[in-house]
């Protein structure tokens, strides 16, 4: 087990910067998830920690040891690949034991470790099979087993569940979570799926275009996103963004007009210096933060476009005609239909405001 830290890590391919000045501290035993859209550099960052990619600049420390120039095998890490990367010509048992056998680990110890992994992952009955005789979920288990056998200080997972079907993904997610509790080892996990990030992580690192946008606990990111990108990326269904214009401002609050939603006015307290009157800003409201008409600070009349009734809750997709779709969650309702008109309210305490560059204004 070990802590891990990145200090001003940079990765360039030619003149193109893939990772820009990434700094991050991971505590011993922490479960950290790198999340972001594809191409954001999250897998590259993970491979740099593994040593499979060289870093252009900066420092990577694992267990207080600078590992920049240390071979991947000597960094005390183990990695689970997206494609599993099992040795196709070896049985499950051979796959698990291969690394240990190659390094001359005593046979008794290798056998003990392989047995332990087989117990932990419940793959005893698969030991004599080849990878092609396994289902996707079983292969994934073996790939995780191969990482556990190495008894690493840090586990690295590169989108391990993306090749599995939805049901199995949920099941494996729970298993990985359980595994983390059992082993207590530091884990770094890459995914583009924000649900996986929210459910697994102690700490989420949101990446975009090679930049770390925000680092924080899942609910901190949900409640207090640093910018519009994080606000939109974390949470499902996504946060609603509405175009607005400042119509009045003083040092403590601004009043905005919702341009595509009937120019309704809303007054919000703000912390940062107010923008100029007439400036365009974006209002962000999560689907579940709309309240009944009259219970908020501004009422909004909407036209239902599609209503999804899921039983425990309903999602109303509204106002598409206005060019700006709203998704509204309504737990109490099961009756809205297409073309119905509804009035809902926005509470200023649950609304976020972003400037034109996407930075938080409140």
């Amino acid at each position: 087990m070990a802590e891990l830290s990145l200090k001003n890590v940079i990765k360039r391919f030619g003149s193109y910067e893939i990772i820009r000045n990434a700094s991050l501290d991971v505590a011993d035993g922490e479960f950290v998830v790198f999340v972001g859209p594809s191409g954001c550099g999250k897998s590259t960052l993970l491979r740099m920690i593994a040593g499979l990619e060289h870093i252009t600049d900066g420092e990577i420390h694992i267990g207080n040891k600078l590992v920049n120039d240390i071979e991947p095998a000597d960094r005390g890490i183990a990695m689970v690949f997206q494609s599993y990367a099992l040795y196709p010509h070896m049985t499950v048992e051979e796959n698990l034991a291969f690394g240990l056998r190659m390094t001359g680990n005593p046979k008794a110890d290798t056998d003990r470790r392989v047995q332990r992994v087989a117990d932990i992952l419940q793959i005893k009955e698969l030991m004599q099979r080849r990878p092609k005789q396994l289902s996707g979920g079983q292969r994934q288990r073996v790939a995780i087993g191969r990482a556990i056998v190495r008894e690493p200080q840090v586990f690295l997972f590169d989108e391990p569940l993306s090749n599995l079907d939805a049901e199995l993904r949920v099941q494996m997610r729970v298993e990985i979570s359980r595994l983390h509790k059992e082993l207590g080892t530091t884990m770094i996990y890459v995914t583009h799926d924000q649900t996986e990030a929210m459910t697994l992580a102690d700490k989420i690192v949101v990446l975009r275009g090679g930049n770390i946008e925000q680092i924080g606990a899942p609910l901190d990111l949900y409640d207090n996103p640093a910018n519009q990108f994080v606000a939109g990326f974390v949470g499902s269904p996504k946060m609603n963004f509405m175009s607005t214009e400042i119509v009045a401002a003083d040092s403590a609050s601004v009043t905005i007009a919702l341009l595509n939603q009937g120019k309704v006015h809303l007054t919000l307290p703000i912390k940062n210096p107010p923008p100029a009157i007439g400036e365009r800003v974006t209002l962000g409201v999560r689907p579940e933060h709309f309240v009944k008409a009259g219970h908020g600070d501004a009422d909004l009349t909407i036209t239902v476009d599609v209503a999804e009734h899921l039983g425990n809750t309903s999602y109303i997709y509204a106002n598409v005609a206005g060019g700006e779709q709203l998704i509204i969650e309504r737990e109490e309702s099961r009756t809205e239909l297409k073309t119905d008109t509804l009035t809902v309210a926005i509470k200023s305490s649950h609304a976020l405001l972003f400037d034109s560059a996407g930075n938080r204004l409140r």
Partner: protein, 286 residues
Amino acid sequence: MQLRNRAAYGFLAPYLLIFAAFWIWPIISSFLMSFQNTRVNPWVFSFGANWGRLFNDPAFYNALKNTMIILIIQVPVMITLATIMAVLLNSPLLKARGLFRFAFFAPVVVGEVAYAAVFRLMFNLDFGIINKLLNGIGIASISWFAEAPAAMALLIIAVTWRWAGYNAIIILAGLQSIPGDVYEAATLDRVSKIRQFIYITLPLLKPIILFCVILSIIGSMQLFTEPFLITNRGGPGGGTETLGLFLYRQGFTSLNFGYASAIAYTMAALAILISLLNLWVGRDEK
């Protein structure tokens, strides 16, 4: 037969007729011919004329011996070389990969007569570059065409030069089908590059290598061009006469078609037998 099928067979008929006339019939006809004495007119059925003679013919055993020597030495040497070439071609460090790939494959495209002529010149006793080079490092000139072992070595070198690149390209395709992350996983498992090659690359290449070995066995069994053109019709004194050349001599020089057919069937049977043996040795245990 359904109408749809009938139309399909109609379209296939020209090909099937040609296939039957020039493939199926010769196979049957030559089999029957191998049981006929074709040195008398008209031909008469005689089991012993060909098959009986074959097993007692020292010329046949000589050709068989020569073919087997080439097979046993040339095939392993060539496949090993081809595998090394494929690994080098696959290296990310290699520049101008396309050029090398073409260069390795080029010998297959070169005309057989041209390549034979160049080899004859290169290995010429008095003014060939090979003897000049040997002299340069203090080795006396070798009479490549006049001594049987040297002539045999020359044949092996020539065939290897011509076909190693071809096999390397096939093996390269196999190498490229091995996913890169398997090697990355092995790197993280602290497996050295050499051990990765032995324990991962070679086992995963086994089916491809086996395929190349069987192709090469069939090719060696039929070897004809090189002993005919380079070592002057199997010279010196039958020292490089292969089964293919022996067949040609019996069939088209002596016009003894029955005996040539028996030789052809023996060659095919041997090729099948050795290939099956290879498949059996290289089989997957599970």
